[in-house]
Symmetry: C2
DNA sequence: CATTGTTCTGCAACTAGTTGCATAAACGAG
DNA sequence: CTCGTTTATGCAACTAGTTGCAGAACAATG
């Protein structure tokens, strides 16, 4: 139940149309809460129905016609309420870790390349974040809202740093592993051409 | 599409009934892929239907009666295929960061307590992981599968470490913020009792 | 002005995960 | 032996997110 609030935040920062929101989600906001344009349109409709936002009056409402929204007081109040409410962090869900664990049973074949690929992706993302930091947060800004936004960006940077370090470490571990077998489990006569679904 | 593979992994490590699986998901596997017992039962049914696992013959099949499963060769093959296949890391989705960003617009009231609470939760989790590390991975083990499992645990430890550090940093930032206002945005006459839902 | 491509909006169907509850056997206590 | 509790299995309905596609306006071009 966070997408509506992500949209409210984005609209408070700047009133926008569905497509503009989509683009902004692809950039800054999407870095920690991604959404497709279909989700966004659907949610805009709901939010309007609930009286939390409204279409800007100037643009006329017809299909294929740009329609911008702004947040109403009720929307702002709801966002404030939600931001302060208690919410537990939801447990991690990571397929790479899962695959690593599966590999402990079923063999590490092919995994190393995958680790390398992920390392590269995370390095790229890290570089992008650091570019943003240099551009948007030069030393010596301290409007409170800048500090908060910087804090969020820091989380992104530190997370990507963590992943690149962990992946690098994982790769060195792999380097001196016995050798990638197709199956290192407690082999119980797995026929070579066993097939599947 | 990872739950079936998580189950296959768990069953390869040790054939189990639905409830046993549920318990194991609450512990080790659930640390990076959580699942409820309903999900697990549903998925066990599907996997059996697809011929990837089968019920152990000894136990009789009646409701309320324990029924254990083991992985068939086809299941092992499918797991190996999946573990080696390419999968992009899916983008971060974190409500706390989102709420922090919202707070930059709508005011930081109540947020500090929430940060503190999360800090405590992450510290607790970190302590638990470290306990497991001490217990299950004493120095000097190097069976390849132990190394892999340790690597996964390391990821958990390092992630929790990251969060505790980031949250600590965030709290010091909060300490010298102007003062938590109910609304620090470009105030446009937000009536105090504006509403909700 | 018909044709084609792009921008912008949106519906519908599907997949994955969650919540709430139902049922059946097993076991212990009165 | 029956009543309540625990263990174990499972269905059904709901929520959130994803995928695939389609339609309306607008702009460029022959």
């Amino acid at each position: 139940m966070s997408l509506p609030h992500a949209i409210l935040t984005a609209l408070l920062e700047k009133p926008s149309s569905g497509l503009e929101l989509t683009r902004r989600f692809d950039k800054s906001i999407g870095y920690f809460w991604s959404a497709t344009h279909q989700q966004i349109y659907r949610e805009l409709g709901k939010l309007e129905g609930e009286g939390l936002i409204r279409a800007l009056p100037n643009a006329q409402p017809s299909r294929g016609q740009k329609k911008s929204y702004e947040v109403l007081p009720a929307g702002r109040a709801e966002l404030a309420r939600w931001a302060a409410a208690g919410q537990d962090p939801k447990p991690l869900r990571d397929t790479l870790l899962l695959r690593l664990r599966a590999s402990a049973v079923v063999g590490t074949a092919g995994l190393e390349a995958e680790l390398r690929r992920h390392l590269e992706l995370h390095q790229r993302q890290l570089a992008e974040y650091e570019g943003i930091e240099k551009r948007d947060f030069p030393p010596g800004r301290d409007a409170p809202e800048d500090r908060l936004r910087h804090l969020v960006l820091r989380a992104g940077i530190d997370l990507e740093t963590f992943w690149t370090q962990w992946l690098t470490h994982a790769l060195t571990e792999f380097a001196d592993l016995p050798a990638p077998q197709a199956d290192s489990g407690q082999s119980e006569a797995t026929p070579p051409g066993a097939g599947q679904s």
